[in-house]
Symmetry: C2
Subunit: 445 residues, 2 copies
């Protein structure tokens, strides 16, 4: 078999890269080779178990690819002959290619805990059959322990709180608060309170030491000796990049940080690009290795890789990290640095915070509070991060904040930024949080 | 009476200017003199008549000013002695000031139609008593005609469609479509369909020639001879800046375009600034006089004026014009130029459009479609405008688009912009409309 552009992996980066490849090079044949019969919406996985109550409803339809003239092959690329530009597959196929994008993604991290191989210990693995088993197992479970209080862990906890058969749901987080990687502690506390109201037990500043049980898991032992009853455990501790194929092909790659790429998303082989969770990334501010793994960053990198396949056009920006989630009735968004992470990097900051109803007047039906916190470098007053919590506008408010971070805007520019307002769609222009938070930060400096 | 900073007018610009004055100059006394006992949320006026069913619920509470240490005087500044820096009021007070911000706003435009002075002919005047009379009159009305199919006119029509006593609601618009100043015609059509479904009659490409009646209005005569029965008429044709006070004080001002201000929002008197609907404005792209009048622009200008009172700190950007509204079940947003307005200016454009559900997977409960259209200069591929319609995320999507227009971003930069995504809060990262619309525009060019 022969193709022009071979894309290995069919999730966010693979699919976005294929679509952009077709847009830039409409005369070229684009082929995705992927392992999965069905591709799942990666961030949608927690919702399979409550809101959707179905794996099937969380599938990305292949019609997206078909509509764009992309070929899909369900198979597994097992090795690459870079000199001959040929890929071999598990099914025994040889695929000749001109250019390749590696979009091999990541695997959930499985910590080396005793008992981690017991039955009923799950991760958020992007595999429809595996997750269907988890869905069925959750129907039978009584006491669930979630190890890891990041976004995925908390979204699982929130969704599982909708299941009536469960007796207890506990979240174990080694940091002093859940979500602390993305939010400052005062916001983490609000999220934890939402979960506690729904009956979830949060065990922060605690570590799982071992999983106990004979065949299936029966308990989780904590570092302080406490033992939590558990007939189902979910690990939500992060991911590790899938770099095996790249390394075996002799490409530069690190098993912890990912496949080495330049600003054009090229690997050490100029005919092979890489994008998404499998690539190494740098922090936009410090230049240090970044462990941010987001579908939105993956698609951005894929659009850069695709554009550059046959001529160099685009440079990838370093990830800012724009997050959003909804836990209980509270939506939370974050972009860039938190106040705490900035201080940990030795950056002096000025912070401005502003709250207001998300509609105006606040007497309008459905109006909810929305609070924005912006973090500026003290030195030049550049925005390096921000957080938002309250109503479901938080996702797009985080995107507005992320835009301002990406464009390196200063507090004085943000204070007079033009944000459109409407009674039913946004806060009031007088109280609009982004400009006011900037103004308040300036008044402090 | 004596104050440091005298602000004339207590609506969006006046209040935002007062708050920023206090932030920048916390030791200075800030006094708002305003005519109105109660200040209304200007954009909230149409909602008084349906959703809120109350004038009182659409009042900006004075607690906002009090909390910020701002004095409020309900009175009317009738003249200014600029040499002596003294303002005289209708109540006979003399107020000494050091610096002044004129935030005198605008008046609804009343066209010189025969019969316009009849009873039951109303505008969206920002006056609580007047609007309470309109609210009561609407309770008794049967056939309402709205002259003007801009945002205000359509919001009135939408709200009035909730009143069961009304027999007919008609909107007369002289352009070929309603909302055409902010949206391209294919989007205007969708808005019109929403209203028609609610029983509103849209009469586009038509003009009102006269209002007929003896004491109270009884009919509206159109230019083609048709006569619409009407026992209540609402004029929503735009606004004219209130410049009388400024002109009588000898400041440069034009009764159609507003008080002349420089980039620092200073009038021709260096001690007097002006902000909001009363000032003249320029288009961000063409430099021509702009008739954009938005509360969000007013507050931006006020924050510039306030910062510059005692030292020059900020320059005001020209208004982009970021609009949003909800008509029926359809939310619409717009920023900058439409495809049509760009062509009218002789600007060659490339357009990209992308649609997707506003949550992902689209099977999530409550997911609705959201479509983004971006308009780029063909020449340098800079974003000069965009529109969005669909779910109520449209308000903040318009703000994201507005941010990108303000930062003069090009299509290739937007295509790889980092937008955070979350199943419950945003569209999918693969299908995210802003980046995809940019990518599609690039593929055309």
């Amino acid at each position: 078999m022969k193709t022009d552009i071979l894309i290995v992996g069919g999730s966010a980066a693979g699919l976005a890269g294929a679509i952009s490849s077709r847009r830039f090079y409409p005369d070229r044949r684009v082929t995705i080779v992927r392992r999965e019969e069905k591709v799942l919406v990666p961030c949608g996985i927690p919702y399979i178990f409550g809101t959707l109550d179905s794996v099937e409803k969380n599938v990305i339809p292949d019609s997206v690819a078909v509509k764009n003239g992309i070929d899909i092959v369900v198979d597994d690329v097992t090795s690459i002959d870079r000199e001959e530009r040929k890929a071999a597959t598990a099914a025994g196929e040889t695929i000749e290619y001109e250019k390749m994008i590696l979009a091999t993604g990541s695997n959930p991290f499985v910590p080396p805990l005793p008992g981690v191989d017991l039955d009923n210990v799950y991760t958020a693995r992007k595999d429809a059959g595996y997750l269907e088993n988890l869905r069925l197992a959750l129907r039978e479970a009584r006491n669930v322990v979630i190890i890891g209080g990041g976004f995925i862990g908390l979204e699982f906890a929130d969704e599982l709180s909708k299941l009536e058969n469960l007796n207890s749901i506990s979240v174990i987080e080694m940091l002093p608060h859940c979500l602390l990687v993305a939010c400052d502690s005062e916001i983490c506390v609000k999220v934890e309170e939402e979960l506690e109201e729904k009956g979830v037990t949060i065990l922060a500043s605690r570590r799982a030491k071992a999983l106990a049980g004979t065949k299936s898991v029966e308990a989780v032992e904590l570092d302080d000796g406490e033992k939590l009853e558990a007939d189902l455990v979910i690990l939500g501790i992060g991911v590790t990049p899938q770099v095996d194929l790249a390394r075996e092909a002799g490409l530069e790659a690190d098993e912890k940080t990912g496949i080495n790429v330049d600003d054009y998303m090229r690997t050490s082989d100029p005919n092979i690009f890489a994008a998404g969770d499998c690539t190494s990334k740098k922090c936009f501010l410090t230049g240090k290795t970044s462990m941010i793994r987001l579908a939105s960053v993956a698609t951005m990198e894929a659009r850069v890789a695709a554009a550059n396949l046959f001529s160099r056009r685009r440079r990838a920006p370093c990830p800012i990290g724009v997050f959003g989630t909804v836990i209980g009735n509270l939506a939370v968004g974050s972009a860039g640095f938190t106040e705490m992470s900035a201080k940990q990097e030795g950056i002096d900051v000025i912070v401005g915070e502003a709250s207001s109803a998300d509609k105006h007047p606040g007497s309008l039906p459905g109006a909810e509070m929305l609070t924005v916190k912006l973090i500026f470098m003290k030195d030049d007053r550049k925005l390096i991060g921000g957080q938002v919590y309250g109503s479901d506008k938080a996702g797009y408010v985080a995107n507005c904040i992320g835009s301002l971070v990406q464009r390196e805007m200063r507090a004085d520019e943000i204070a007079i930024f033009q944000m459109g307002t409407h009674p039913k769609l946004t806060p009031s222009p007088i109280a609009h949080q982004i400009e006011n938070a900037a103004e308040i930060a300036l008044a402090k400096s």
